[in-house]
Amino acid sequence: MVTSLIVKRINSIKSVYNIVMRVKILFFAEAKRAVGLEETEIDFDGANISDLKEFLKDQFPSINNVLEGSAFAVNKEYARLQKTLKDGDTVAIIPPVEGG
């Protein structure tokens, strides 16, 4: 509850001052095939993975279905949708893994 209020407050401050962060996005497997890219850098004014997911849906409509079934990793660690992002982070889209 308190966290969500803080995130909302941070978001409102960001929108007033137009603060953006640069985030590197890595695409693998189905995600890579859907967008035709291995990686890209974006300027993003959201707060967390959930916001980034919406941003990517808007920027790369071909990836919508893949995103719904994918996990995310921030700097090589699995991350929840609520994970706060910061400038310079690397976010990987991890479609369902299939090793073995």
Binding site: F28, E30, A73, K76, E77, Y78, V97, G99, G100
Partner: protein, 126 residues
Amino acid sequence: MVRLEKEPLNIDFLIGSLKSDTAGSIVIFLGEPRRGKGDGPVVSIDYSTYEEMALKELIRIEEEALKKDGIIDVIIVHRVSEVPLKEISFFVGVSSAHRKEGFEICNFIVEEVKKNVPIWKEIKYD
């Protein structure tokens, strides 16, 4: 030991690396690409990975496995290249004092790798 390997695996070498004076059991799992019913003329599976993260996850799984009572050594190797049918794509070996913990931990490792390690496959057809 954990490894992501492009070349075919040397299974004898890997098994030999697990031998020790204190191990009464070595449990091995070998994964192979397969042609499922209705898959058509599959000839191979091309495995890709997010290498840095996959190694990190493999080390985490190895460390967790080595904490269990009776486990002496663990080897996890996954191919990350195109693997023809009948070649080994995935090796898990566990040496332990007794077989019970060896089977349990081998199964634990296989499940963890399949669930969490960022490796993907693309089926290749004739």
